[in-house]
């Protein structure tokens, strides 16, 4: 089986994106590289990036697992909710 990027994998999923309504909020001023990298490495959808000493996050493509919240222990991820009803990932296999 050919190696695939996470972006390509997410491209096969079905999403109802809620573009302007992020259900996860990060702390943009948090700068501890080690802690940030743990969240970057943990997210199955690779939605966290560490760039120029800061954490960058995009909620679109979220698989709604909760791993970032658990791994960051309140440090990088400030608010974690599920998307509002009917939005976000729709699993067709599960």
């Amino acid at each position: 089986m050919k190696k695939m990027s996470v972006d390509d994998k997410l491209g096969l999923n079905k999403f109802y994106p809620d573009e302007h309504n992020p259900h996860i909020e990060i702390d943009p001023d948090f700068t501890d590289e080690k802690e940030i990298m743990r969240v970057v490495k943990a997210c199955p959808a690779e939605l966290y990036k560490y760039e120029n000493g800061k954490v960058i996050f995009n909620h679109e493509g979220c698989l709604e697992c909760g791993t970032c919240r658990v791994v960051s222990g309140g440090k990088v991820v400030r608010v974690w909710h599920y998307p509002v009803g009917s939005m976000g990932i729709e699993y067709r296999q599960g």
Partner: protein, 445 residues
Amino acid sequence: MQDELQDIGKKGEVIVSDDRFDAIIVGAGLAGSTAALTLAKAGMEVLVIERGNWAGAKNVSGGRLYGHALEKILPGFAEEAPIERKITKERISLLSETAGTTIEYADESFRKPETASYSVLRSKFDKWLAEKAEAEGAMFVTGIHADEMIVKDGKVCGVKCGEEEMEADVVILADGVNSPLAQSLGMKKELAQAETAVGVKEVIGLEEKVIRDRFGLTENEGCAWMMAGYPSDGGIGGMCLYTNKESLSLALVLTTSYIGQSELSVPQLFERAKAHPVVAPLIEGGKLLEYSAHLVTEGGYNMIPTLYKDGVLLAGDAANMVINIAYTVRGMDFAIESGRLAAETVIKAKEKGDFSASTLSAYKQMLDNSFVLRDMQFHAKAPKLMEHKEIFTKYPQMAQEIFSEMYTIDGNPRRHLLKFAKPALKKAGGIFKLARIGLDANKAI
């Protein structure tokens, strides 16, 4: 009322529902729909609130359902339900970087309904179960997120969805592993990293015949395969594979406290494991159908939260009802049984007209006497067993060294088993360490 409920989803409209339900269930997974089915059968007015657009749309699991719990409620369900395959073949492997040591166990008795297990795809399966509950009279509203609990004088009496408040005598929270609602009530703590794993999963499409040939299966038979060692890169975890009708469920599960210790990210570790010489041929030619992720609680019995309070009960994943005992992972049969017992508790509470914690405590007693907490308690030491890193690091290597010498015939002088097994064991931590792990395993699995 059905029409009113369907209107709730419309933006900007506020509907005040005068109707009170006997029970509100949050989450249309296995626990929620089983509870709804049981309550509706008993003639109770039950409302299920599901945030997905349909029951199953947000639901993911590794892939194997032990059928016994649902068999009690819907005898012969597998004849009709969208199950994938009946598992008749169990495999477990220890993987080193370049080799794999595998045990296979196949058993005719796995075919009997009371002991059978099935590979399932939850989006399809949960939809079916919800329809069963609906047919009994349970009401489902989908695409609605339950935002908050309504608590009056310390007693739960409903949920808030946006501007809408819905009240009931009792609420069953079956809203999954994260359960923000159970956390908001202080019934469940935030998931601890050392006790929580992330599961990443691919459903990989393959032709039906290819699956049969590749895994040595007849038409409806299936294989469940656990793999430890190389996939988790020194952390606690492993891979699991289940054969579906025309796809494979392949997942990597990794304890979250380990993340960051490896150079590689979780998605990178998954790709690395897929390229392992034992794994790669199994998925060769496959086409990715879906990529998913889900948290798995691994703390076992000691992680069971507060299961009831005035007017509220927790069931399934929301109650952390999962065990990982290395050769198998269970959660779905616990979800079904806890959903049923939560419903039975509510039926009794309704008869008494009392939904206080003291009446609802019958739920805990029933769980204690059921296989749910009995088995979870029996395996309570499994998480401690998994802390022996040797299982994931040195033992796959040791197995390789022993079997490699046994099976390598190249004209070089042969050596007796003990000559090469002893140094291999020593390198892996020695006989006493192995004995220690063996004793712990005996107490845990």
